[in-house]
């Protein structure tokens, strides 16, 4: 059994930033466990630019952004085990991991930061109708194969889902000589960033068909045709609107799911909406000493915000290790109200200034984000445009809610 003060599971942007933040707080006994052969997480395959605008005021590619952190982790000699997969995590912070050099390792940690990122929703997850054929891939896998393994999945492509990875892959595959015939989106709006729609679809004349979905896939072992239909307000296909597109590949960009399988083993309670842990304002889960940050907590649109969040988790883990102090009892529950899909954190202490991350339910214009506590408005701000694809962050000073007698605060978009 190996003893460690802090174990961070995952060396993607969240894990790396959390490790550096813990180091900065004076902690030295840190171990990062990464299942891939190199650190960087999903950024390794994101060779497009657009990262780092908030954090570094520069436009970086994914690998460049990751390298800023990897370099520092190396410089500080923070222990990083790659090619190492955690197969068990318990609520008393026992970890079982396997790697090439050491075989099976058993580790006992004082604190754990969950930074496992997310996985993609699959054809099974969306109950894609039709045959089970070669040529149907998720967008992230397509990106991984293309950018890390130099493999082109197909030549004539349809993309279902206009999430950012789908948009990015539409451009990437076009640049590799593939014919991207359409991007389909079941919702009446795209779930991708606006800049990606412009730079990845509009610039390449790739049609984006909103309120459309795939109702059948056909082929002789490899995909040959997808049948597409328009959907109504309830997202149900409208009979009579079907048309076929001939293609050899269907790429699914239909959402990310926080990868909380280890968290579940450790009895970490999850939020039904985010799919991530329920956390306090220090990003600690219901299990004492287990913290969560990055896409494993909730899906982010910008990596810069992942880094911010992870730094907070790193700092909180060190506070926990140093003081062994339990989280303050005096607290408020944070409730998403009208127009708001979710708010992180779900529980806050009254004694601290707070930063909230949230998403609205649907795109809209001229919306007021309003936070109330004990019937009093403690924050409000007007937004010209709100969009579920763009996370909203707000700061509230503790003076606003500290004196109020209440059990919860409520956030609405009206």
């Amino acid at each position: 059994m190996i003893n460690k003060e802090l174990v961070i599971i995952g060396a993607g942007p969240a894990g790396l930033a959390a490790a550096l933040s813990a180091y900065k707080e004076g902690l030295r006994d840190i171990l990062i466990i990464e299942r891939e052969n190199k650190p960087g997480g999903i950024l390794k395959q994101c060779i497009h630019d657009g990262f780092g605008l908030h954090k570094f005021r520069e436009v970086l590619t994914g690998p460049e952004y990751a390298y800023r952190y990897i370099e520092k982790v190396r410089e500080k000699n923070i222990e990083l085990l790659t090619n190492t997969i955690v197969t068990l995590l318990t609520n008393d912070k026992y970890i079982k991991a396997i790697n090439q050099e050491k075989g099976i390792m058993e580790i006992k940690a004082e604190a754990v930061i969950l930074a496992m990122g997310s996985r993609e929703r699959t054809s099974g997850g969306i109950s894609l109708p039709g045959d089970r054929l070669a040529g149907i891939y998720t967008a992230g896998l397509t990106q991984n194969l293309m950018n890390l393994h130099n493999i082109k999945v197909g030549e004539n492509i349809v993309i279902l889902g206009s999430g950012d990875i789908g948009l990015i892959m539409a451009r990437r595959l076009t640049l590799e000589g593939a014919n991207v015939k359409a991007v389909l989106e079941i919702m009446p709006y795209s779930s991708g960033l606006k800049r990606n729609i412009n730079q990845c679809l509009v610039d390449y004349d790739i049609p984006l068909k909103l309120s459309h979905t795939v109702v059948d896939v056909k082929g002789d072992y490899r995909l040959e045709t997808v049948t597409v239909a328009e959907v109504d307000e309830k997202l149900q296909p409208i009979s009579g609107t079907e048309f076929d597109i001939n293609c050899d590949t269907l790429i699914l960009s239909v959402g990310l799911i926080p990868e909380n399988e280890l968290s579940k083993q450790a009895n970490v309670q999850l939020d039904d909406i985010t799919g991530g842990a329920l956390v306090k304002d220090n990003l600690e889960t219901n299990v004492e000493g287990i913290f969560s940050c990055g896409n494993v907590l909730h899906i982010h649109d910008l990596v810069d915000y992942v880094s911010d969040e992870a730094e907070k988790a790193g700092k909180a883990a060190v506070e926990y290790i140093n003081s062994g102090e339990k989280w303050k009892k005096e607290n408020l529950f944070v409730e998403p109200g009208q127009g708001i899909n979710y708010v992180i954190p779900q529980v806050i202490s009254k004694e601290k200034d707070q930063i909230f991350s949230m998403r609205v339910k649907k795109p809209d214009t001229d919306k007021m984000i309003k936070v109330t506590c004990a019937g009093e408005v403690i924050f409000q701000k007007e937004f010209k445009k709100v969009n579920p694809s763009e996370m909203i962050k707000i700061n509230i000073k503790k003076e606003k809610f500290e004196p109020l007698e209440a059990k919860s605060i409520k956030v609405v978009a009206i």
Binding site: T87, Q100, I104, R132, K152, V153, Y221
Partner: protein
């Protein structure tokens, strides 16, 4: 190219065909098995519920009842010999109202005549055994069991192969001719001569039978769609949970099946279709699966779904009649040496050991088969790392570095298991072959994580160009090739 002349050729590499081939391999004879797909078991055998039935639905005195009862009592032994998972989990057939309670008593009557052990139990029993299930009463069948239908098919085929059966995959029968005392089977992969033909071609058995001059048979394909639930939902049931079957439906009703791997299956639906190859899933039916499952398991929801698939029953009861009839296993009236197996639908998996014995007895009567003293019925499957104790895992990781690399993280499949699956005795070298042997890509991420890793291992082991890697058949290229501008 292997041999061209056989004593006996089995057409169809499903559970029944492979079981027959393996049973035949106990005797001295030249045996071949022809399968049109890239692997055995890719038809109905890999897309059923994996249930070993206890025999309460088969008509009393029928061949079906006989082979089913034989199968149920011998299944554990077969699985033990062939290193395939088997669990006698038991089954509850749950009634939702008084009318259905009466149906339970009818089923119990028929089942008891067949020799099945069945108990009518009340609400308390249901709640005690299956706390998440709603129902007013149930019939409890302690002998119902589960297995892995595709692993068993593969195991039968591998053991048959070890014992000398020549298994020809990607080989589709185009025509069969009679030439003196021999049949000539013409395929896309050459011609084969044989004295005996055993037609276990499932959905295509009517087509194959037509070459024996037998035009009476017609297969009515009847599709069943399934949902697979995430292992996280495995605590919802621990036994098979069935509704009272709808009248004349030709299925058992949409039921819940725990699998030997810890998933739960919802299904199958029951829909006659025109095209025997149409293994599609449909939105309408998938919606219906969730709705019907919720009737007795309210905790089920769509977020738990990781996969859907369908399988096709080869029924000989036409849609306008519906329901079930007996299996047809008989010599062609024109040729004694041509044995047709028609309408082997549920409980075909359970009945496979009994059917194999029955068919071999038919041949034995004509040919007086000689036991082969070299027959070895023991087969060892791939070592499943995830199912071992920590101690055993450590022994493996200490001695073999390939066990230190988890390739499929959902199912904890190691690199060694992928290599073992690729080097399977049948020579199946595609992604699906790995899936059904090592379970990689069968978890909740459906290969999102492991496919890139498996591809790398496939390239290393097979020394193939990326554009020649297959999903399953020769027409199923996984990728179009390398990206531009790379050397």
């Amino acid at each position: 190219m292997g041999r061209k002349n056989f004593d006996i050729v089995v057409i169809g590499g499903g559970i029944v065909g492979t079981a027959i081939a393996r049973e035949l391999s106990k005797y001295k004879a030249g045996i071949g098995l022809i399968e049109k797909e890239s692997d055995v078991g890719l038809g109905a055998s890999n897309s059923n519920s994996g249930v070993v039935h206890s025999g309460f639905t088969a008509p009393v005195g029928s061949l079906k009842a006989d082979v089913c009862m034989y199968g149920n009592s011998h299944f554990e032994e077969v699985c033990e010999e062939l290193d395939v998972p088997f669990e006698r989990v038991g089954k509850l057939v749950v009634a939702q109202n008084k009318k259905q309670v009466a149906d339970l008593y009818n089923m119990q009557y028929v089942g008891s005549k067949n020799g099945a052990e069945l108990h009518i139990v009340g609400k308390d029993f249901i709640k005690d055994k299956e706390p998440f299930i709603d129902g007013v009463a149930a019939m409890y069948s302690p002998n119902s069991a589960i297995t892995s239908p595709y692993e068993l098919t593969i195991a039968y085929a591998e053991n048959a192969h070890e014992n000398g059966v020549d298994i020809k995959l990607n080989t589709e029968v185009l025509k069969i001719e009679k030439n003196n005392s021999k049949f000539i089977i013409k395929t896309n992969n050459g011609s084969f001569k044989t004295k005996y033909i055993i037609n276990s071609a499932g959905l295509y058995s009517d087509f194959i039978a037509s070459f024996s001059g037998e035009d009476r048979y017609k297969i009515y394909p009847c599709r069943g769609e399934y949902y697979v639930l995430d292992k996280n939902a495995s605590d919802l049931i621990s036994r098979l949970v069935y509704p009272v079957p709808p009248e004349n439906a030709g299925g058992y009703g949409i039921h819940l099946t725990p699998t030997v791997d810890g998933n739960i299956l919802i299904g199958p639906s029951n829909e006659y279709i025109d095209d025997v190859q149409n293994e599609a899933t449909t939105k309408e039916v998938m919606d219906q699966l969730i709705k019907e499952a919720k009737n007795f398991l309210p905790a089920i929801n769509r977020d738990l779904v990781i996969r859907s698939y369908s399988g096709i029953r080869s029924k000989i009861v036409p849609p306008e009649i519906g329901g079930f009839t007996d299996f047809v296993i008989e010599k062609s009236p024109n040729y004694d040496n041509f044995i047709n197996l028609i309408g082997i639908e549920s409980p075909g998996l359970t009945s496979a050991p009994g059917i194999a014995k029955y068919v071999v007895e038919i041949i034995d009567k004509m040919e007086n088969l000689q036991k082969d003293g070299d027959f070895n019925g023991k087969r060892e499957g791939i070592t499943k790392f995830d199912k071992l104790s920590l101690q055993k895992q450590k022994e493996l990781t200490d001695s073999n570095p390939n066990y230190r690399e988890i390739v499929c993280r959902c199912e904890n499949v190691t690199k060694q298991e992928i290599i073992d699956a690729l080097n399977n005795p049948l020579g199946v070298k595609n992604l699906k072959g790995i899936k059904y042997r090592a379970r990689a890509t069968m978890g909740r991420c459906q290969g999102g994580y492991c496919i890139a890793r498996i591809i790398k291992i496939m390239q290393e082991e097979l020394n193939l160009d990326i554009k020649d890697l297959k999903f399953d058949s020769n027409n199923s290229n996984l990728f179009s090739g390398q990206a531009k501008g790379w050397g």
